[in-house]
Symmetry: C2
């Protein structure tokens, strides 16, 4: 569900956006999510060993509060990474000013940053924008979408997803639980979250979930959503997924609720696919379905090798059904492979059978199929029962243009 | 040494080239190296688990002969890979016809192919060109360079390297030993040879070296030359380095000859750098010098992560001194890293110190330095004594143009 309406916004949260002056474009670049009461929180961060200052502070703060967040403060235009002690001071100064504005503890603030790496974050610009930002807060869909817009960098479109479910409590009463997410990410996208960009995603629910249970849901869902996408194979220093539960629906959810997990998976998978679909310069979105691998890890090796092969990705950009490049990539992926047993289909079209060109291979039909903006490639290795689904993009002239002239 | 003259061509070999009609351009596409007598041979092949038909035949033939080659038969325009049994038959038919032409055993023929994957090789075109090719053979530098030209695909220039050394025999007599190499490679370049393209390199010497010793020299040299380069991170199904020793100089060389190893290293390092310098669409050639790693393997992890990062490579294309992308890449390389101790220099310019922007960082000077066609980046991790030198390219619009419209 992508319907943005007031009835889709989880209760217990307010949203706001302002122009702090970090984006050269002068567009809004600072957003807040403010929970009415401290919300249960679980977060997943990049596995990059170089991590940005806000992530260091986030981890400290979540530990200090036992998993409670009052305010998420998110800026675009500067990643606050590789900026040494000054970067940490900027993140902490922002937390302190936000805490003062909203009457909470500094540890209850969750800062996030995205943008250029290696340039000190001017915290004073964020702090100066806080009064205006506090004034602008609201709980309507328009406030939600303004926050979603402010955190974009090279993204072309806002990314948001919604789900609703009904929870029956012990006494038979039925409560509606809402889940909503917004996020950003377009380049430097190969999240490897521990439980992975700079991808920033904020998932909100008005269910009442304890922090430990919330963490369990988050770890499970990132594995099959954000950890299954790649635009360019570059794992960011700032990737963050934050899941907040306000409890404002009154519905209590413990560990192992299948309906809640399914709704959360639907929202996170939608967000992951939206990030890929808006990948820098992307003209094709490709769903890779790898099956018959010796195990799931091997299936993922094959999918990632394909998703990171410049030769495969440029062939897609040219709508070129050059399946030989796929075979070569499968061969160096590190997965257990019998070259004579590889089958490849583009959608329903058999392209390669037993490692060679399929007898029914029709180059014109294959070209037409992969000329679509979204298409699917299925690979069967015939080695076992391992499988995965992975989403990625092509590699285009526009990607080069975007990234060959970023900081200068 | 890159001087092409009759005095630089190892004795005991003849060379030829012809137009077999495999290249759509109609240019020469079939080359032969013919040893006057069966030459000692050592070969290194791709580590890709999908390997082309000629490599299967090469391995069988080298085993059958105990490391002896009479003729190397090399075609461009078709990789003869992923073509099933028909591909093997095409390679064997070529060997049989070459053997008949030159009066040797089919097992003494070493076939190589480069070009598109997945299209059956028309062996009959190669076989039909053999009489003309046999007529054209010669041992002069012009014949050598014609063979070097015929095996090119997307390469813009011929690649060759030469070395000479003097060997003193037990009785005090001095013999001149010559080493010469030609090869090709521009895209799908990340050789991982076991002792790695489609990179094809033929190294010839007129020293007398037994096959087992020759194999030892080859395994050592590929590790510090061809296995230290990457254009696009795609490891080919056809990569081959063949080292042939004719013995025609009369100089016998056993295992562990430092002067011979040094000359061979000079030739192979030159060839590896020539492949990178002609990398598809490359406008910059970058030497990565990683030091202070926990061990050599970690140093190589960092170099490869940088060499394969689209964000780093596009920044180079734009002459953009965006060192933050380097720090991010080092962070996800998998190497042991202390983010606060990373130092980076562009040439002699200190860019990053202790993980943050160096106080003396001068963006204009850094931009000017990396605007050169060839430049060097040094990284010190301060973790130990591991190091490596690695060569790679930028990622440009021209790379996209070359590869987005290859087979169609």
């Amino acid at each position: 569900m992508r319907d943005l309406s007031n009835g889709s916004i989880p209760r217990g949260f307010r949203f706001g956006a302002a122009k702090a002056g970090l984006k050269a474009s002068g567009r809004p670049d600072f957003a807040l999510i403010v929970a009415d009461e401290p919300a249960s929180a679980a977060a997943a961060f990049t596995s990059n060993r170089v991590i940005a200052a806000p992530l260091v502070v986030d981890k400290e703060n979540l530990t200090a509060t036992g998993g409670r967040v009052r305010v998420a403060a998110i800026n675009a235009g500067n990643a606050n990474c590789a900026a040494g002690e000054a970067g940490l001071q900027a993140a902490r100064a922002t937390c302190a000013a936000v805490a003062q504005t909203f009457g909470c503890r500094a540890e209850e603030v969750f800062p996030s940053s995205t943008g250029i790496i290696g340039v000190p974050l001017p915290a004073e610009k964020l702090i100066a924008a806080l009064p205006e930002l506090a004034e602008s807060l609201g709980c309507e869909s328009s406030h939600f979408s303004e926050a979603a817009h402010a955190i974009l960098t090279t993204d072309l479109v806002e990314k948001m997803a919604f789900a609703r479910l009904e929870i029956k409590s012990g006494d038979g009463a039925v409560s509606e639980v809402r889940i909503a997410a917004f996020g950003k990410g377009s380049g430097m996208i190969h999240p490897q979250l521990v439980p992975h960009a700079t991808m920033l995603v904020y998932v909100l629910t008005d269910a009442a979930v304890e922090p430990g249970d919330l963490d369990g849901y988050l770890r499970a869902v990132v594995e099959v959503s954000f950890n299954r996408i790649s635009v360019d194979g570059d794992t960011s220093t700032n990737d963050t997924v934050l899941l907040l539960a306000s409890g404002a629906s009154g519905a209590r959810i413990g560990a192992g609720d299948a309906a809640f997990a399914a709704a959360l998976t639907e929202v996170c998978t939608s967000m992951a696919r939206q990030v890929v679909a808006d990948g820098e310069g992307a003209t094709h979105v490709v769903e890779l379905r790898v099956g018959g691998a010796a195990n799931d890890a091997d299936a993922l090796r094959v999918a990632k090798a394909i998703a990171h092969s410049p030769l495969v990705k440029t062939a897609w950009a040219g709508c070129d059904p050059n399946w030989g490049r796929l075979v070569a990539t499968i061969g160096y992926s590190g997965a257990q492979v019998d070259p004579g047993r590889i089958d490849i289909r583009f959608g329903e079209l058999q392209i390669c059978r037993d490692g060679g060109r399929a007898a029914e291979f029709d180059e014109a039909a294959a070209h037409e199929y992969i000329s679509q903006r979204e298409f699917s490639i299925s690979i069967d290795l015939h080695q076992g029962k391992g499988s995965c689904v992975f989403w990625t993009t092509d590699l285009t002239h526009q990607y080069i243009s975007i990234n060959a002239d970023y900081s200068t």
